[in-house]
């Protein structure tokens, strides 16, 4: 039974979390969207507080110790989740943050995901890039009703708030936002969950047959002998555990490759260039993410099939060549031997290879700037950059949904220019940055940022004009 002291501690936790969310909600901020998140969180806290007080009241008898204990832990864990979600939406205000990109990101998200979203920003303490849909996160946690009522209370039109997180150390790096293409891929994957689920099942059947012997050995190695459990039951238990691990890994890895291919359709290999800034060890695999070398290899294979013109381009072929040495599987010997999923990584790699064709067909519906023949104006845009003019001026807009493709073309162009070594060095020297390529990249990022912002405004203007 939780002691009176523990009960008081939880009450204090509820009170402090509630007042902290309310305090931050009242603070000034550049945009109002986090209010919806705070409102929903306050609702969640309120419901947990009510239930907790009811539990304390109903289970006051020492006989009900287990009931109160279990309810106490459940509420405490929910409060931890609230604190985590709150930290994702924590208000940030720093001169280094390019708030200007948020409107443009919301615009392309609306067009890609076909829902009314707004993007807000947070700085990550770890080296990572994320875009999370609050609606989905709340639904996953079983707080969908609270989200709905918070949305209805605010504007009623908004369906989700996208929380963009990027490393604090790279707060002013605009080119890094090419990674948003991958993150939006995850949101699109959610819409294809049925097809991706079917593909996962099909792949799991295939690899189980192909890796039959290795999987049997893995099951055998994981048998835990426990008192009261027969040999057959222990084997069955281990068999189920490995099955669950395989299914989870297959699902996570297939979705990652799907998101990579979506990104490849939107910005070509540019997201891989941004990815290199985040991921230092291309050989590291995890139960949720395939190793970087494999992702690079599969994206290259996909682009070779669908966008040969891009892969053969000097800047990109040099980019792929530079990382050629990292494109082989490290094998299990080089990997963390304590990782329980280790024997499954080669199986996962096989699943990714086998899935590539079908995933390519699935992502074909994602609108791509390359399909629209826009590649031909990249050179013209680079001329603008070379003269410190925003590259968006050469883009024609018509006020239609397809305008959003130009956002991705700008990202692509920014990276293409950055990776065209001669062109970029000349640019740096010409404007006085010399060997300081970091400064030159910042200037390039600013040109892209202004272009993205201008693009969104011009799109709105065109929309109004035609209506």
């Amino acid at each position: 039974m939780p002691t009176q002291w523990q009960i008081e501690c939880l009450r204090a936790r509820i009170r402090s979390l509630d007042s902290e969310v309310k305090r931050v909600k009242e603070k000034d901020h550049p945009y109002p969207e986090p209010d919806t998140i705070y409102r929903a969180l306050i609702e969640v806290i309120r419901s947990r507080a009510l239930l907790f007080e009811e539990a304390v009241d109903l289970f006051s008898d020492p006989e009900d110790e287990r009931d109160l204990n279990a309810s106490f832990s459940s509420v405490a864990k929910d409060l931890q989740r609230v604190a985590e979600e709150f930290s994702l939406a924590d208000r940030v205000d720093s001169a280094r943050i390019p708030f200007e990109i948020l409107r443009a990101l919301s615009w392309v998200a609306n067009s890609l995901l076909e829902e009314n979203c707004r993007t807000v920003v947070r700085l990550d303490t770890v080296n990572n890039y994320t875009i999370s849909s609050c609606r989905r996160r709340f639904e996953d946690l079983g707080w969908g009703d609270h989200w709905e009522s918070a949305v209805n209370e605010s504007s009623g039109q908004l369906t989700t708030v996208l929380v963009l997180g990027f490393p604090s150390s790279d707060a002013n790096s605009i080119l890094l936002h090419a990674l948003s293409a991958h993150e939006f891929g995850h949101q699109i994957a959610h819409k294809h969950s049925v097809e991706l689920g079917a593909l996962r099942d099909q792949m799991v059947i295939e690899v189980k047959r192909e890796y039959n012997q290795q999987l049997q050995e893995y099951v055998q190695d994981n048998v835990v002998k426990r008192g009261g459990l027969g040999k057959g039951d222990a084997y069955e238990e281990s068999r189920k555990l490995i099955e669950a691990r395989l299914l989870k890994l297959a699902e996570a890895w297939i979705v990652e490759i799907f998101a990579d291919l979506v990104a490849a359709r939107l910005v070509g290999p540019a997201f891989l260039a941004a990815f290199d800034r985040m991921l230092l060890d291309l050989r590291r695999a995890s139960p949720t993410h395939p190793p970087g070398f494999l992702r690079r290899k599969l994206v290259r294979a996909y682009l070779t099939q669908t966008l040969a013109e891009v892969v053969e381009d000097d800047a990109w072929s040099q980019f792929f060549e530079r990382h050629g040495e990292a494109s082989d599987s490290p094998g299990t010997a080089d990997r963390d031997q304590r990782d329980a999923f280790l024997p499954l990584y080669p199986v996962g790699e096989r699943i990714c290879h086998l899935s590539l064709g079908e995933l390519g067909e699935l992502v074909a519906k994602v609108p791509s700037p390359f399909d629209a023949g826009l590649l031909s104006i990249v050179e013209e845009m680079e001329d603008c950059i070379n003269n410190l003019a925003p590259p968006s001026i050469v883009l024609k807009l018509n006020g239609e949904v397809s305008d959003a493709c130009k956002f991705w073309l700008l990202m692509y162009t920014g990276w293409h220019f950055r990776l065209s070594a001669d062109k970029f060095s000349r640019f740096a020297i010409r404007f006085g940055w010399g060997q300081d390529l970091g400064k030159a990249e910042e200037a390039l990022g600013n040109l892209i940022l202004h272009s993205l912002q201008a693009l969104e405004l011009r799109h709105k203007w065109e929309q109004q004009r035609i209506s």
Partner: protein, 150 residues
């Protein structure tokens, strides 16, 4: 999902944990003759369904890896994962809870509640079902992540 491995925690058991907690309180209220709110009745229906799925998931047997018929039905996936985690976290001496029977009993409680007629409940049934729900909640709490990533 972030671009690389993240320290952010996933908590797939959260919705079932919450509903089970609501049900534990609701069963106690019924035992004391109190009237339930709509969300409590909904939670009873939801947990009854989940117990049925857990029971179905526990019937699954796998043989060899090369058997093509071995595909886990989509509707059983999350229950299967929950069950596997419960089994691997179970202590040596304990036997798994009988989710099937508790699910049936909880479903009949839900049916009576939604029938619109005045009903009475057998106190021992309520106590038995509550005990299974508490055991389930203890397992779910064990599976839920503790640490915060910030």
């Amino acid at each position: 999902m972030p671009i690389t491995l993240s320290k952010a925690v996933a908590d797939p058991c959260a919705p079932l944990s919450w509903n089970t907690t609501v049900v534990i309180l609701a069963l106690e209220k019924l035992r004391r003759g109190k009237v339930l709110k709509e969300d409590e009745t909904n939670a009873i229906e939801n947990v009854a369904e989940q117990l049925k799925l857990l029971s179905e998931a526990s019937q699954i047997h796998f043989d060899e890896f090369d058997d093509e018929s071995e595909v886990l039905p989509t509707y059983l996936r999350s229950s299967f994962f929950t069950l596997v985690a419960i089994e691997s976290g179970r202590s040596a001496a304990s036997s798994p809870p009988d989710f099937g029977e508790a699910g049936q009993e909880l479903l009949s409680v839900a049916k009576k509640l939604t029938s619109g007629e005045p009903v009475t409940f057998d106190a021992s049934t309520l106590k038995r079902v509550k005990a299974v729900c508490v055991e389930l909640l203890e397992h779910l709490n064990d599976q839920r992540p503790n640490s915060s990533f910030r």
